[in-house]
């Protein structure tokens, strides 16, 4: 029976994949793609898994497809860079079971380090691309993409963006269909990409591209909504929705199948309207293709190549182009309100490491995760952050060139270390660098919402499994010195960090405290500040703990006395350890509670 649900684009893709008989799904988490796999994992009868990184997720996906299973592989946009190596050549071999790669792009970089436009990957790999415009299309296009993958013997890119992935819109869902796994059949010239076999496969890819072009010309996924013929809008994905709203009467060419483009149909459309305006987010992907094929159009003249498009920017561009007569209403200037940046949680084990590194005056090469927030005030102790895994390589490069007079550290989270940090350690060991690598092991992938990874001892479904031992791993990789540190013991942490700076070779330090939020909230006995003993030095205000604020009270010397919110404090003890006055104590510590100001 059909059911109508309000689903996010991510959830709709998972539902669509299940309904279309996907038997195998793999992903590495990354906003805004994570919920696809989390949703899919709840459906019985299919295999769903987290992989250590996107390249591996893609490769196990290839295996599943070659085994004849319908396969879904999901990642955020930068994940496709990691998976690019297998992608570019899987494009040659083709599939057996339908294979869909979901790329969730993040225009505006709400939760990302760049805003690359992954439509480019479809062109680069010469594979078909579908771009849904709402959750219903996410649902429908996923099934269609699997059919197309099998029909054209190609992996298919399903490209979404944050506003598709994380918007809830109504979806009509159908019953699930079972698609049997057909099994692997060896075919050496097709699946072994040595030069002699890869050359003919590239020819096959070019023929396939031609066939896809023909398909693109006729598929109803590329449709024209006729309206006023003075202007024809060409658009795809979320931009379609913004354009539709900003210029309701216009003729619109909506591209659902946006690579390869239906150039003849577009040429025909262009000939029937006075002006063609391309409304697209980020790169001029469609515009450049049209221009290269001699179809006159305008686009980026009126719309930014950066950031997220929205109905207001779409309307403004269309006014500027002279095709929308209704001016865009001016809104009052926003009121200046103090910022509210995200912060490390109270009790987060990352905090004391960065506090110590700051105190040491270290140069810190950071990585991607919650701990990147330590680049913000008041800690400001991440000095470079590029992509997942880069911390170790950067620190090694600095130390090999002796480009820093300060202690040099690489700091990397547990999930990130398993994703792409291990080879960095190998580089350091092999090339005999002098460097300290801190693995911030909070036993979870926290930044993206608490996903399991190969050192959590849990699968995606929360079932027990084997768990990587970071200390043993670092030792077999050849690190000269490996040690764990309890970040809640600040003095010991400080001594360990100092000792590692003095010790030549590759030092690997592994922290031991769990995340405060995942898999479950941690709350221990809180600390309090004995206001009468506080001299207002403000040290505890400089660790960026959200449980510590100014109380409003001041000392005789008019210095602010802080207060701890006992409901928020999780009892990590860092503030107590660093307080020079020793006036931060456990709430239950006898004798002094009466002296505490609220």
């Amino acid at each position: 029976m059909n059911q109508r649900l309000l689903l996010s684009g991510d959830e709709a893709i998972a539902h669509g994949a299940k309904a279309a008989g996907v038997r195998f799904a793999a992903a590495y988490p990354g906003t805004p793609s994570t919920e696809i796999m989390e949703t899919f994992a709840r459906f019985p009868g299919s295999h769903a898994q987290w992989s250590p990184n996107e390249k591996v997720a893609f490769e196990v996906g290839i295996g599943a497809s070659l085994a004849g299973a319908r396969t879904l592989v999901c990642m955020k946009h930068v994940g496709v860079n990691v998976a690019a190596d297998p992608l570019m050549t899987f494009a040659y071999t083709g599939v057996k079971g339908g294979f869909v790669l979901v790329s969730a792009d993040d225009p505006e970089m709400h939760s990302s380090q760049n805003e690359q436009d992954n439509r480019t990957w479809a062109k680069f790999a010469k594979i078909p691309m579908l771009e849904p415009s709402d959750s219903q299309e996410c649902y429908d296009f996923t099934g269609l993409a699997l059919d197309l993958s099998e029909q054209f013997d190609a992996p298919v890119l399903l490209r979404i963006t944050t506003r598709i992935a994380h918007s809830l819109t109504p979806v009509e869902v159908r019953e699930w269909t079972e698609v049997p796994v057909t099994g692997f059949t060896p075919d050496i010239p097709k699946y072994v990409m040595m030069p002699n076999w890869a050359r003919p496969r590239h020819q096959a890819v070019l023929q396939r591209l031609e066939a896809l072009r023909q398909y693109s010309e006729t598929t109803p996924l590329n449709r024209i909504e006729w309206g006023d013929r003075q202007v024809g809008i060409v658009t795809s994905g979320i931009s379609y929705q913004h354009a539709r709203e900003a210029l309701p009467g216009a003729s619109i060419f909506k591209l659902g199948f946006s690579y390869p483009l239906p150039l003849e149909k577009l040429r025909e459309f262009a000939s029937q309207v006075e002006r063609v305006i391309v409304v697209e987010e980020l790169e001029p992907f469609i515009e450049e293709a049209l221009k290269a094929h001699g179809i006159a159009c305008e686009g980026k003249k009126y719309f930014p190549v950066y950031g997220e498009l929205n109905p207001t920017l779409a309307a403004r561009g269309l006014v500027q182009a002279g095709v929308r007569s209704e001016p865009v209403a001016e809104t009052p200037a926003p009121v200046e309100v103090l910022p509210r940046p995200p912060v490390l949680c109270a009790g987060c084990g990352h905090r004391s490491i960065f506090y110590a590194l700051r105190r040491m005056g270290a140069h810190v090469f950071g990585d991607i995760g919650c701990y990147t927030l330590s680049a913000l005030p008041p800690l400001e102790t991440v000095h470079a952050c590029i992509c997942m895994g880069a911390s170790i390589g950067m620190a090694v490069g600095v130390s090999q060139t002796q480009g820093s007079k300060r202690p040099v550290f690489a700091v990397i989270g547990d999930s990130t270390f398993l994703h792409s940090g291990i080879t960095g350690v190998l580089d350091a060991v092999y090339n005999q660098a002098n460097v300290t690598i801190i693995i911030l092991d909070n036993h979870i992938t926290a930044m993206t919402g608490g996903q399991a990874h190969p050192a959590t001892g849990m699968t995606l479904q929360g079932k027990p499994t084997k768990s990587v031992d970071f200390v043993a791993l670092a030792k077999v990789l050849g690190a000269d010195h490996v040690e764990t540190i309890d970040p809640y013991d600040f003095n010991a942490t400080w001594e360990t960090l100092k000792a590692s700076v003095a010790r030549p070779g590759v030092n690997v330090l592994v922290t031991t405290r769990p995340c405060m939020l995942f898999p479950r909230k941690v709350k221990q006995e809180p600390y309090i500040i004995v206001a009468g003993d506080c001299n207002g030095c403000g040290v505890c205000l400089k660790i960026g703990c959200p449980a510590i604020a100014r109380s409003g009270e001041v000392t005789d010397k008019n210095l602010a006395i802080p207060v701890i919110d006992t409901a928020a404090c999780t009892g990590c003890r860092l503030c107590a350890d660093i307080c020079p006055q020793d006036c931060i104590i456990l709430k239950s510590q006898p004798g002094r509670e009466s002296e505490v100001k609220a």
Partner: protein, 208 residues
């Protein structure tokens, strides 16, 4: 996040009815329950026969950052994003956040502000000052302004955790949707055994 409706008919009904379009912006601080509130509103609207789109950016919501959720209703909704300055209703879970977003309110719009103060950790640096006078600054910025202290109202009802349902009650006064649908969805969505208390909180939010 999955919201189910038992009744598949609404889309057909909407096509005939020509429902009024509404843009509702719900804002607050990570952890306050903004996303659950907008989920409940969306489900109520879907049951009432609207086309609904709800959109938000929540990557940082659990780390105490700013959270905003757009809910758009109408016969047909295209963009999930409310155009600048086009919110018919803003529900702010926190008063500094009300100030941050008030410029998105349409002329003649309805602003509901929870009189709660959450000072961001960044304010330990005296450079950043929390706007204690937020409520005064909001005067005159909305044609209809309603300030309520949801926590205080909830406390009077015996449980501070009912505060978000109090706010939903206040929000319901800005929308022309059958109250039974609100009650139905709230009862289904709240923790077991708390439906009655939550319905009382909803009423309190409507009336106070």
């Amino acid at each position: 996040m999955t919201l189910a409706t038992e009744n598949p008919a609404p889309r057909a009904a909407a096509a005939v009815l020509q429902l009024k379009s509404m843009n509702i912006l719900i804002v607050g601080v990570g952890g306050q329950g903004v996303l659950l509130a907008s989920a409940i509103l969306s489900e109520v609207a879907l049951l009432a026969g609207y086309d609904v789109k709800k959109s938000e950016v929540h990557g940082m919501s659990q780390r105490g950052g700013v959270v905003s959720s757009h809910v758009r209703l109408g016969t047909v909704v295209h963009s999930p994003v409310i155009p600048n300055g086009a919110a018919d209703v803003i529900l702010a879970f926190e008063k500094a956040e009300a100030l941050r977003w008030v410029h998105e309110l349409k002329a003649g719009g309805f602003l509901i502000v929870n009189d709660q103060k959450l000072v961001p950790p960044i304010a330990v640096d005296p450079k950043y000052v929390y706007p204690d006078d937020a409520l005064e600054l909001l005067q005159g910025r909305a044609e209809r302004l309603r300030v309520l202290n949801a926590a205080a109202i909830a406390r009077k009802l015996g449980n501070e955790r009912l505060a978000n349902t109090v706010l939903l009650g206040a929000l319901s006064t800005g929308l022309d949707i059958d109250l039974d649908l609100w009650r139905q969805v709230i009862s289904r969505r709240v923790p077991k055994g708390t439906a009655e208390a939550n319905l009382k909180a909803f009423e309190a939010g409507r009336n106070q």
